[in-house]
Symmetry: none
Subunit: 528 residues, 2 copies
C-alpha cells in the first residue's frame, strides 16, 4: 500500500509546532524529533524554512547526511517568490530548490486583503507569484504542495479569488493545495462545507491545516477528510502558536480506530504513546496528562462505582483498547474507590489479593482513613505500594532507623544574598549510626541531601536517586495555623520515576515523610 499516494499524514511539528510560545528547538532536537516522527510512520515531515534562518538551513544540510528515514519524506517550507522578481532569481526560492528536500511546501496568500495589506501587491501579481514559483520548482524535479494561508477567511471575503489561487497552483503542477485555517476560528460544519465546495469546484487534491482556537482542531480536520480532503497536517502533542495546531496523533487515531481508514503503516499507531512522550522530552514541554489517546490519564479510572464492573468487562468502560495506541489502563486509588479497585490496583502492582477478603477490607479501610486525613494515593503510587506491601507482608519495608532531624533556614550576610538551608539528620542504617549535615537552597533540598548522604554510606545505590518534582498543597482553609499540608514528591532513578506523599501540620515534616518513602521505594526496587 502506497501511503504517500493514498493519504498524506503531514507533520509540521518542526516548523509550525516550533512557533509555540516558549518552545525552542536546536538542530539536534529537530533531527531527534524527525527520527521519532519517522518511527510513527508519518508520510511527510516539514523540517523548517531553509534560507529564512541559519538553523533551518543547517537542519536540512545535516538531515541529508544523518537522517535515514524509513517512511517519511522531508518537506522544505517556504514562500512564493517576491513580487516583481523571477522565481529563478529569488534567493529564498533558490534555498528551497537547493535544500535537498524532495518536497517543497509553498505558503501563498489566498485572502485578498492579506495580499494587499501584508504582501502589498496586486491580486494579479499574487497569482503570478504562485504560478511561477510552483512551476519553477516542479520543473526542477520537486514535488510541490501549496499552503493556502488564511484560506477560510479569504473564502468568506472573496470566494472566486480564493479558488483562483488554488486553480493557479494546480495548473502550475502543485500536487496538493492545503487549506489553512490560519487564525483558527472555524467550526467543523463550516470546514466541511468549504472543503466540499473546493473539491467539487477545482477537482484538485485538497489538504487541511487546522489550529485549535475554538477547541475544534481535531474535529475540523476530520470534517475536512469527511468532505474529501486526503492530506492532513498537524503536530505531535498539538504544539503550535496560540492554542496550537491539530494534534496529529488524535487525528490519526480517530481516522484509523474510529473511521477504519488506514493512514499509517500497519502497527505503528501502537508506538504513539511512546513517541508523544519522547518528543515531549526533547521539547521539554511537560506532557498534558489529559491528552487524548496518549496522556497518562487517558485511560485512568477513578470512580469506585465502576471498578466492580471493570473487573467483569473492561471494554464497557473504555472507548477502545489502550494497547492500540501503546497506552495502558490504570486504576486510581482514592476515597471514592472501593474494594474492587484496590484488588485491581494490587494486580497491577503484582499482588494477587483476590483470595483474601480480610486483607482487601483492611487495605481499603486504611486508604479511606488516610485519605480523610489528607493523603492521596492516586497521585502517589509508590506510597500506596509501600502501604500494600506493609499489609501483605506484615511490616513496612524499612532500611533505616531515624533518630532525629533538624533544618535551619536563615538569611545570609550581604546585599541580595539568598537564604540558605542546612539540615542535620541522625539515623542508623545497616547497623551503623550516622550524623550527617547537608545544605540546600531550601529546607527540603537540605533534608534530601542529608538523608541521601547518610543512607548512601550504607546503600551507595541511593546516589542515583534524584528529587525531580515537588508539590505542596494546603488542605484545610480557614485558620492558617491549623492547616494540614500535603506534599507530593517525584523521584527518579534515571530510568523511571515515582511519586510519594507526606501529610502533616508542618510542611517540613510532611516533606520528610515523602522523602523517606521515596528513598525506601527506590531501595526496595533495587533490592528485589
Amino acid at each position: 500500500m502506497d501511503l504517500h499516494g493514498a493519504f498524506h499524514v503531514y507533520d509540521t511539528t518542526l516548523r509550525d509546532g516550533a512557533q509555540q510560545e516558549g518552545l525552542n528547538l536546536s538542530v539536534a532536537d529537530k533531527l531527534n524529533i524527525a527520527r521519532q516522527l519517522d518511527g510513527l510512520g508519518v508520510g511527510y515531515i516539514e523540517g523548517g524554512w531553509p534560507g529564512a534562518n541559519p538553523k533551518d538551513t543547517e537542519f536540512f544540510r545535516r538531515a541529508a547526511e544523518e537522517l535515514d528515514l524509513q517512511h517519511a519524506r522531508l518537506a522544505a517550507f517556504g514562500a512564493t517568490r517576491r513580487a516583481g522578481v523571477a522565481a529563478a532569481d529569488d534567493p529564498l526560492v533558490a534555498a528551497l530548490r537547493d535544500s535537498g528536500a524532495s518536497v517543497v511546501t509553498l505558503v501563498a496568500k489566498s485572502h485578498d486583503r492579506h495580499v494587499e495589506l501584508a504582501l502589498r501587491t496586486t491580486l494579479e501579481e499574487n497569482l503570478a507569484m504562485v504560478r511561477d514559483t510552483v512551476s519553477h520548482l516542479v520543473a526542477e524535479g520537486q514535488t510541490v504542495f501549496l499552503d493556502a494561508e488564511h484560506f477560510f477567511d479569504g473564502y468568506r471575503a472573496n470566494r472566486p479569488y480564493a479558488l483562483e489561487v488554488l486553480r493557479t497552483a494546480y495548473e502550475a503542477g502543485a500536487e496538493v493545495a492545503a487549506l489553512c485555517d490560519t487564525n483558527g476560528g472555524m467550526l467543523p460544519t463550516w470546514v466541511g462545507d468549504v472543503v466540499g465546495d473546493v473539491v467539487s469546484s477545482t477537482g484538485g487534491r485538497v489538504g487541511i491545516h487546522c489550529h485549535n482556537d475554538t477547541g475544534c482542531a481535531v474535529a475540523n480536520s476530520l470534517a475536512a477528510v469527511d468532505a474529501g480532503a486526503t492530506h492532513v497536517q498537524g503536530t505531535i502533542n498539538g504544539y503550535g502558536e496560540r492554542t496550537g495546531n491539530a494534534d496529529l496523533i488524535s487525528v490519526v487515531a480517530n481516522l484509523e480506530l474510529k473511521l477504519d481508514r488506514r493512514v499509517l503503516p500497519q502497527g505503528l499507531l501502537a508506538e504513539a504513546t511512546r513517541i508523544a512522550h519522547a518528543v515531549a522530552e526533547v521539547t521539554n514541554v511537560p506532557p498534558a496528562s489529559r491528552q487524548p489517546y496518549v496522556g497518562t490519564s487517558a485511560f485512568a479510572h477513578k470512580a469506585g462505582l465502576h471498578a466492580s464492573a471493570i473487573k467483569v468487562d473492561p471494554n464497557l468502560y473504555q472507548h477502545m483498547d489502550p494497547a492500540g495506541v501503546g497506552n495502558d489502563m490504570r486504576l486510581l486509588v482514592s476515597d471514592m474507590a472501593g474494594r474492587a479497585s484496590i484488588e485491581l490496583k494490587g494486580r497491577e502492582l503484582g499482588f494477587d489479593l483476590s483470595g483474601d477478603r480480610d486483607l482487601v477490607t483492611r487495605i481499603t479501610e486504611r486508604v479511606k482513613v488516610l485519605e480523610s486525613r489528607g493523603y492521596t494515593f492516586e497521585a502517589a503510587d509508590a506510597s500506596f505500594e509501600l502501604l500494600l506491601v506493609e499489609e501483605v507482608e506484615g511490616h513496612r519495608p524499612s532500611y533505616v532507623d531515624v533518630e532525629s532531624w533538624r533544618v535551619i533556614t536563615e538569611t545570609q550576610a550581604g546585599p541580595g544574598a539568598e537564604a540558605l538551608s542546612e539540615a542535620t539528620v541522625k539515623l542508623t542504617a545497616a547497623g551503623v549510626r550516622y550524623v550527617v549535615t547537608g545544605e540546600g537552597n531550601g529546607p527540603v533540598n537540605a533534608l534530601d541531601q542529608a538523608l541521601r548522604q547518610a543512607i548512601g554510606q550504607a546503600y551507595p545505590e541511593v546516589a542515583k536517586l534524584e528529587l525531580i518534582d515537588y508539590k505542596v498543597r494546603i488542605l484545610d482553609q480557614g485558620h492558617g495555623t491549623d492547616a494540614i499540608t500535603r506534599v507530593l514528591i517525584e523521584t527518579s532513578d534515571g530510568e523511571s520515576s515515582w511519586w510519594t506523599v507526606g501529610v502533616g501540620h508542618n510542611v517540613v515534616e510532611a516533606s520528610w515523610e515523602a522523602l523517606l518513602d521515596a528513598v525506601t521505594f527506590g531501595l526496595r526496587r533495587h533490592h528485589r
Copy 2:
C-alpha cells in the same frame, strides 16, 4: 430573557470535574468555585452527590447557608433508587430530596449490558427504578434531570431500550434527558445523528454530556446543539476523568461568538478568562497556556512576519476580539500588551494613571520582568498595589528595617510527637531594634509569629492580622534543586482579606517576602 428556560448551561466541575486525576477539592474549595461559576452566569451548578460521601453532604448544607447565587441553580447529583426498594425508602434518594437543591440530576443506566453487569438487575426493573425515582422527586417539588449514562454505546447496542429509558424518564416528569458519552469515544457526526434521532423519536428536551477521549468534546457538544439539544454539560478548564469533560468555556464561547446564540447573561462571557484562572488557583492545577479562548497564549503572536499588518488591522490575525472573553492580544517580540489593563487596575485601586504615559510604561515593564521571574500579580492584588504605590510615590511603603531571620525545624522527643518550628527575627520598627523568637507548627507559621510579635510592639494593630491561606507552586519543572518556588499568602484583618506573592529558590525565603508584603499592606491600609 429566562436563560434557565431557553438554554441550559450546566456546569459539573464540582462533581464530574472533581473526578480528574490529582484533583481533590475541599468543601471550602467547592464553595469558592461555585461563586466563580455563578459569576460566569451558568444556569446550573452540579455540586456533588449528597449522601454518597460526607464531604458532598456538608457542601450542600453549607451552600444553603453561605451561597447567595445570582444566576445559577444548585443541582444535586445522585442515582436512581436501588433495585427492589421503593424510592421513598431508599436513603440515598432521601439524601437528594433533603439536600436543599431545587434540581436533582439522576444518573440512570441506558445501556442494556450495563444494567445487567453493573446494576445486576433486569431491564424492566431498571425502567421501574427510573420511573419511581423521577416521579418521587418531582412529587416532592424538585426539578429532575436525567443523566443517561453510556447512552451512545447503549444506543448502538440496543436502540429501542435506550430510547425507552428516556421515554420513561420524560413520562415520569423529568425535564431534561442528558445523553452521556461516558466513555468519550464519539465523533461529531455520530453525536449529531443520534441526538437528531432522539429529539424526533421522543419529543423530549435533550441534553448533552461529552468527554474528550477523541479530542472532540467541544465539537461533539456543538454537534448535539446543532441537532436540537438545548442543555449542555461541561466543566471549567475541561477538568474531568481521563481526558476530561467538554470545556464549558470553549463550548459557550463558540455558541455565543461563533454561532450567535445567547446562552449566558449579557456581558458575563467577558469574565471567562479571569474565572478560568481563578478556578485554576483553587484546584491548584496549572492552567494550560494553549487553552482555547482563555489560555495565556491563546492570543499571543510570535510577530515577526506579521507585525506591520497586525498594526494596520489586528482582526486579520485573530479569529475574534480577545476582549470578548476577557483575554488580551500579546505580541511576543515587542510586547505592547498590559498597558490598558495596568491603567484599569490602577483606577480600580484609586490611582489615575491615564495622564502619565511614562509611569504606565515603567509599571508595565516592571510587571513584565517580575512575571517572567515567576511572580503573578493577577492572584496577588496587594503585592501589585505595593508595586504601584512604589512607582507612583517613588519609594516602597515600609514600616520596618529587617536585619536578619532564621528558622529551625526539628523533630521532638517522644513517640508520635510532631516536628516543631522556631523562628528568630531581628528588625527595627519605629526606631527601636527588636529580637524576637516565635514558634509554630511549620516554618512559615513560626516566621509569621515572630514577625508580627516584633512589629506588634511598635504597631499593635498587626495583632488582628491573620494568615488564612497559603499556596505553594513549583514553577520550573526539571531538576528539583534549580526550581523556582512561588508562594501566595492570604491575610485577613477580620474585615477583608488580601493576597501577596513571594518568589525564590528557597520556599522559606519566598514565604518571608509574601509575609512581609502582607503585613506592610495591612499597616498601610490602617494608616491611610
